[in-house]
């Protein structure tokens, strides 16, 4: 853009601006502006026409006044007049005024559009550029309506100048972003893609922004850009630093273009064409190689440009997640950055490594940097970097290094910033639980956690530790001993008191043998904390006391004394008062037997997803990247054959008339899975969900394909299904058990199905075929809604179709060695789902085998060193991807318990499989 030269400078404007700057006060400034406005008004009003120069000058002044924050309500017409001038500077000022000041509903918009149209069709490239810039700057819907058709033509026309092409591409991008519905690429698509081959680097850089934006919306249409982008990238990467002349920035060839190309490639999966892929891999390798070369310049711009490309390349590698070699190299490169002087680089390295850690290929490589990361956590001065280091530690943790990492995180917690403490606490709690090898370590860790950062330990964390202690016999004694010791500290956190109260109340007897922790000592210790606690904790302690009465009759009188005291029995808090009164009565009236029954040890909690994990997921922090992804994956699930809604609302409205007649056999169908929210009250809520008949009906079909899905006195629904890869076909047989015909028989499925005969004769059977295609993994079964008239009464049924993710398994045979290698690769915390549950049926090896085979996976013999255990392998075929899954079932005949572990490359799949299977055995 030609700068306004001295001779062309507007002296009046300069004087005015310097006057304004010299004003001492706001009032003086307003006075000066009023004076100038009056002057301009009189000039515009004047009879003799103004020449272009003065018009430009006054419009400039108005613009300046407007930008100072004053209202301008005239001069628009003069600005529009300037557009038709032939002088660059006058036109420029006109456009400037319009893009700043004219709002879209102005009457002048027609005139302006006309002027822009004229400029666009002129042959003068600078005028065309000015017009395009104005369109982009205003970027309103009206502008898009007027010019969306014109600009693509300019963009791809053969005779357009390069600079105009650049502007046109960016202008189109802007219009596309404001009103995507108006910018229709249609026939221009391929020509726009071919701009990537343009001679002029500037055009390519501008076009690639446009293409990236467009291909994010409709990737299929722009698929061809991948190979072009790769070849372009390889040409840039392999060029010598001097080849590109203007586009070499501090010895780095075209860094912006390279970054944009790499980002474009991240919109697509790895190229299928071998040659293209090879070339791309070569490029990426070259980029990684270049990072190793000594810098050509000491300037910070040089290293910035180089690193920008490198990081973009690494995110592409992570995006592809298919080249182990590159992933490991990227990881090593990042490892170097971890110790770089530059804080920003360290931050970026930690952040990228977090994503690398979740890739199966590079997980091991990431783990080698553990010392550095721990060091970063301790010594880094910037809190955001420390946060990233903590995230990375969490991501790289697995069974092998869990103890070390948890210990480090715990020790860091003492000095951690307040902003990240709660998240750290959750992470430590999760890691400790997930990778607990022996539970005494787990208990130690959590108690330590409460001791160090009690304020940040949420309810869920201590609920969880109690759940685990209750469910594991072997750890109870140890836990009681540890909490007893922890409570002896002069000041301990209220959460510690809660855990202590609960555990001693349940298992205090296990340590009562030791005179140092005799019942009375235990009680006194707990009661010494009583007065420092809040009401809920006091309530919990009262419950612990009554449990003490049951466990240790010798403490009865002491405790009754306490309960009887005015501070309890007349407490102003209703809850405390009620507990005190009731417990006192209970202890004095009930016999020992009754007491023992009432105050029995808590039954084990049903195994569920850790409530802490749910809590961490809820926290939307910048740090919780991996967890967010996990949630997104879940949201995407549940798409079956283009199915619309998720089957969240699965409870049917039971038909009252049918119930009156007593015809309906099954209870109303409530198959709502336990929601995450209800987990939080686990400890105090009644154990067990009401498990109605239908749920088990549904779960029966997890391992078999044919059978009766539903039966009552009117209707029987049989099912027969077959699955191949990601496709399936299901036959539904509706049998009328009565002698009367059903009329207006309709079934609606939240996925598409062939219509069924509207009439079923008495005693007859009709058949319905459903074709199923699995697009991606899902967790909710499709719902089938059946309506018909029997006699006069309308019957309504809602059933879950037994279509589960395991139906799409392809069995995979593999040797023991392979199995364990795969098993190890899938060691990310979210890839694994584990459940420990009590056997519902007899533990018969043959039955188990049959069930596992029915599941669809291959049952692998002689793989697990323990012959009691079962291992299976299979691949779930969905249209979008294939999910490899491994399963391990460890029966414990003595305890009548199973431990089921599922690992698969997609977290939602492991979880769903685990849920499904847990109901089977």
């Amino acid at each position: 853009m030609p700068a306004v030269s001295k001779g062309d400078g507007m002296r009046g404007l300069a004087v005015f601006i310097s006057d304004i700057r010299n004003c001492k006060s706001k009032e003086a400034e307003i006075k000066r502006i009023n004076k100038e406005l009056a002057n301009i008004r009189s000039k515009f009003k004047g009879d003799k026409a103004l020449d272009g120069y003065s018009k430009k000058k006054y419009v400039c002044k108005l613009l300046f006044i407007f930008l100072l924050g004053h209202d301008i309500d005239f001069g628009h017409m003069e600005a529009v007049n300037l557009l038709s001038s032939n002088k660059y500077t006058e036109k420029q000022i006109g456009y400037l005024f319009i893009s700043v000041l004219v709002n879209s509903n102005s009457e002048l918009i027609r005139l302006i559009n006309n002027a822009i149209k004229n400029d666009l069709s002129s042959r003068n490239p600078t005028f065309m550029c000015l017009a395009l810039h104005c369109i982009a700057n205003v970027g309103s819907r009206e502008m898009a309506e007027a010019f969306a058709g014109e600009i693509p033509r300019i963009l791809v026309a053969g005779d357009t100048m390069d600079s105009v092409k650049q502007s046109a591409a960016l202008c189109l991008l802007r219009l596309y972003k404001t009103s995507p519905d108006l910018v229709l690429m249609g026939e221009w698509t391929s020509r726009v893609v071919h701009l990537l081959n343009d001679q002029h680097m500037g055009v390519v850089t501008a076009a690639i922004s446009l293409i990236t934006c467009l291909s994010q919306k409709n990737p299929d249409e722009f698929k061809t850009c991948v190979s072009l982008a790769v070849s372009r990238l390889s040409r840039i990467v392999s060029s010598a630093s001097t080849d590109l002349q203007d586009y070499t920035y501090y010895f780095v060839p075209a860094p912006w273009l390279s970054c944009k190309l790499l980002r474009l490639l991240q919109c697509y999966p790895p190229p299928e064409d071998g040659a293209v892929k090879g070339r791309l891999v070569e490029c990426l390798e070259t980029i990684l190689n270049k990072a190793q070369e000594p810098p050509k310049s000491k300037k910070v711009q040089h290293s910035n440009a180089k690193n920008a490309i490198l990081f973009e390349a690494i995110s592409l590698i992570i995006h592809y997640d298919s080249e182990p070699n590159l992933l490991v190299r990227a990881c090593n490169q990042l490892g170097q950055f971890l110790q770089h002087r530059e804080t920003n680089l360290r931050y970026l390295a930690l952040e990228s490594m977090c994503t690398l850690a979740s890739s199966e290929f590079s997980h091991e490589a990431v783990k080698t940097h553990i010392e550095t990361v721990i060091n970063a956590l301790k010594t880094e001065r910037d809190v955001s970097v420390r946060q990233r280091a903590a995230d990375l530690l969490y991501a790289m943790c697995d069974r092998s290094n869990a103890k070390q990492i948890v210990a480090e995180m715990l020790s860091y917690l003492e000095t951690a910033d307040y902003s990240i403490r709660e998240e750290m606490v959750l992470k430590v709690a999760i890691l400790a639980e997930k990778y607990a090898v022996d539970y005494s370590w787990y208990v130690d860790t959590i108690l330590n956690l409460i001791r160090i950062a009690g304020d940040y330990v949420s309810e869920e964390v201590w609920y969880r530790v109690i759940q685990i202690v209750i469910n594991r016999d072997d750890v109870q004694g140890y836990a009681a001993k540890t909490v007893f010791e922890a409570l002896q500290a002069p000041a301990c956190h209220e959460n510690m008191v809660k855990v202590g109260g609960y555990i001693l109340g349940e298992f205090g007897n296990l340590i009562a043998g030791d005179p140092r922790s005799s019942p009375l000592v235990q009680f006194n210790l707990l009661h010494s904390k009583f007065h420092l606690c809040s009401v809920p904790t006091r309530a919990l302690l009262l419950s612990a006391y009554i449990k003490f009465i049951n466990l240790f009759p010798e403490t009865k009188s002491t405790i009754q004394e306490v309960l009887r005291s005015d501070s309890q029995i007349r407490n102003s808090d209703v809850e405390l008062q009620q507990r005190a009164v009731e417990y006192l009565k209970l202890s004095s009236i009930a016999s020992t037997d009754v007491l023992a029954t009432v105050l029995e040890e808590m039954p084990p909690f049903p195994e569920r997803e850790s409530s802490i994990l749910a809590k961490l997921k809820k926290k939307k922090g910048p740090g919780a990247v991996s967890v967010n992804e996990l949630e997104e994956g879940k949201r995407e699930g549940g798409e079956l054959n283009g199915g619309g809604e998720r089957g969240g609302d699965s409870s049917s409205t039971p038909s009252p008339s049918a119930d009156l007649l007593g015809l309906r056999a099954g209870p109303p169908v409530t198959a709502a899975a336990p929601s995450a929210g209800s987990l939080l009250v686990d400890v105090f809520s009644e154990a067990g969900v009401n498990d109605d008949g239908f749920l088990s009906e549904f779960s029966r079909f997890v391992c078999k394909n044919n059978g009766v899905l539903f039966e009552n006195q009117l209707l029987q629904i049989g099912i027969k299904s077959e699955y191949r890869q990601n496709l399936g076909r299901m036959y539904l047989f509706y049998g009328n058990k009565t002698s009367v015909q059903f009329v207006t028989f309709t079934t609606t499925l939240n996925v598409q199905a062939k219509p069924v005969e509207p009439l079923i004769e008495g005693g007859a059977q009709v058949q319905q075929v459903i074709n199923i295609e699995c697009l991606t993994d899902f967790s909710d079964a499709p719902l089938l809604n059946i309506k018909f008239r029997y006699g006069g009464a309308l019957q309504n049924l809602t059933l879950k179709l037994p279509v589960t993710i395991n139906k799409f398994f392809q069995p995979t045979e593999m040797a023991s060695h392979d199995f364990f290698q795969r098993w190890k690769q899938l060691s990310l915390p979210q890839q694994e789902a584990q459940k420990i549950f009590k056997a519902n049926h007899a533990m018969d090896t043959e039955v188990l085998k049959a069930k596992l085979l029915g599941l669809g996976m291959a049952l692998l013999e002689n793989v697990d060193p323990n012959p009691e255990n079962f291992v299976c392998a299979g691949v779930i075929q969905t249209k979008a991807q294939q999910v490899g899954s491994l399963l391990r079932l460890e029966p414990n005949a003595q305890a009548q318990m199973y431990r089921l572990t599922v690992r698969s490359s997609k977290d939602t799949v492991s979880k769903r499989l685990c849920e499904l299977l847990a109901e089977q055995f």
Binding site: S25, K26, N34, L37, A38, R41, S42, K45, D73, F74
Partner: protein, 441 residues
């Protein structure tokens, strides 16, 4: 009570900062700057509450005075103190400006130490202050012990505003009645609101400890005397057009030297005056105000691009009196592009920077009229907003009191010294100024 007092310049830089209580920290200084001074006139209220801290400010030209407190103080007291503070500073070094404040900062701190103690206002009488806070530097050290003890007894004594042993060769006193008249009038000439706020300022050069008695034509007093049958002043209207004898005072405040108990019981104003200049009383009246000028506007819009304005002013007082410094300000629309003015008397000019036509007349006698007519050309604009037609305002100065207040007597008694009421030379002057004197058009 006041926790601290800050003085800022127009940029918000702190010139004076005096903190009296611990609950006010340095951050309070910044809070006021950021929230009030830098808010660019967004804050109109003189009291601002920021983070449980109250800021009371007054502005003198470019200088901001802010009193800060965290307690629930009497806001009127704080403002009275701030105004008093301004008066004191003016008495010491003239106009309150950044320059003057910087030059006298030691003095200001000394004053602040004296007139505020732990946030409680103390004696802020200029006369008294000047006896012990002097600007003559070293001279203070030459004061004899006797003089010093005298200062102490005076400042702490019953009559803190006057020291004993003052002697003048000529006993003289000057009395100024200063009034400002405020008016809002409809285009048809109907008075929408009018009031006068006035001050009686006295300059006394009297020897000894004289006892003074001040009398004016207060309606209550006159009526009382009228009942008694002693209407000793038949001379009726010296001023103005109305021949009324007495005025109704809505409210008044007095200098601390006036004995309020006597005023309450007898409605008589008696006092021992301070030496030098001081304000004896302030008052306000709303009834029977003599409006010195009448403005008759005529505005006609000729099409969208032209406006014709004609304004007539009439003076409404005795022809022998002369009004001075007359200025009529006629606002013009924001899209004015040109103005032609014709006036019979004085000078008129279109001031673009103020968006107004300013018409100035140096002198004008009573019962006269004058007129101005202007043609305003307008530029068509984009927005359809109509011009709001702000009122025409006026400034003037007249040599009488528009409220009708008259000084009936001021008697001086000094029993110990040998001069009587007749020996005192007394001067009385009336000045009526315009406050906000507006007529809608």
């Amino acid at each position: 009570m006041i926790g601290g007092l800050f003085i800022y310049n127009h940029k918000g830089e702190v010139l004076i900062s005096r903190v009296y209580r611990d609950d006010i920290g340095r951050n309070a200084v910044d809070a006021f700057r950021v929230n009030v001074i830098h808010a660019r006139q967004q804050v109109r209220s003189p009291v601002t509450n920021i983070a449980r801290t109250s800021f009371f400010h007054v502005k003198r030209s470019n200088i901001w005075l802010a009193a800060v407190t965290k307690q629930n103080v009497n806001a009127a007291m704080v403002f009275e103190f701030l105004y008093k503070m301004c008066d004191v500073m003016t008495a010491y070094f003239g106009k309150i400006s950044e320059e003057n404040i910087k030059n006298n900062f030691v003095l200001i701190y000394e004053l602040l130490d004296e007139i505020l103690d732990f946030g409680y206002p103390q004696n802020s009488e200029t006369g008294a202050l000047k006896t012990f806070i002097t600007q003559q530097g070293i001279k203070g050290q030459h004061q004899t012990k006797e003089e010093q003890s005298q200062i102490t007894s005076q400042v702490t004594g019953q009559i803190g505003w006057r020291r004993e042993g003052i002697k003048y060769r000529r006993n003289e006193l000057f009395l100024d009645v200063l009034e400002s008249v405020n008016l809002l009038m409809s285009p048809q000439g109907q008075v929408l609101s009018a009031h006068v706020s006035g001050r009686v300022v006295m300059k006394s050069y009297l020897s000894g400890m004289p006892e003074c008695k001040f009398g004016m034509n207060d309606k209550i007093v006159i009526d009382k005397q009228g009942k008694g049958g002693t209407t000793d002043e038949p001379g009726k209207s010296e001023l103005g057009g109305s021949g009324k004898q007495s005025i109704a005072i809505d409210d008044c405040t007095f200098h601390q030297c006036v004995r309020l108990s006597k005023f309450d019981s007898e409605r008589s104003i008696s006092f021992i005056p301070p030496d030098g200049e001081y304000e004896l009383m302030r008052y306000r009246t709303t009834k029977d105000i003599i409006l010195p000028f009448r403005v008759i506007p005529l505005v006609r819009e000729v099409g969208r691009t032209k406006l014709e304005v004609k304004v007539v002013i009439k003076s409404n007082f005795k022809p022998s009196l002369l009004a001075q410094k007359i200025e009529v300000r006629i606002p013009t629309p924001l899209n004015t592009s040109g103005v032609q003015v014709i006036c019979m008397k004085g000078k008129a000019k279109y001031k673009a920077s103020e968006n107004a036509i300013v018409w100035k007349i140096k002198r004008m006698a009573g019962m006269k009229e004058s007129q101005i007519s202007a043609e305003i050309e307008l530029l068509p604009t984009n927005d359809k907003k109509k011009w709001a037609r702000p009122p025409i305002s006026m400034n003037f100065e007249v040599p009488f009191a528009p409220s009708g207040l008259k000084v009936r007597y001021l008697k001086v008694f000094e029993s110990k010294l040998n001069y009587s009421d007749h020996d005192v030379i007394k001067w009385v002057r009336y000045i009526g100024r315009s406050g906000i004197y507006e007529t809608r058009c």
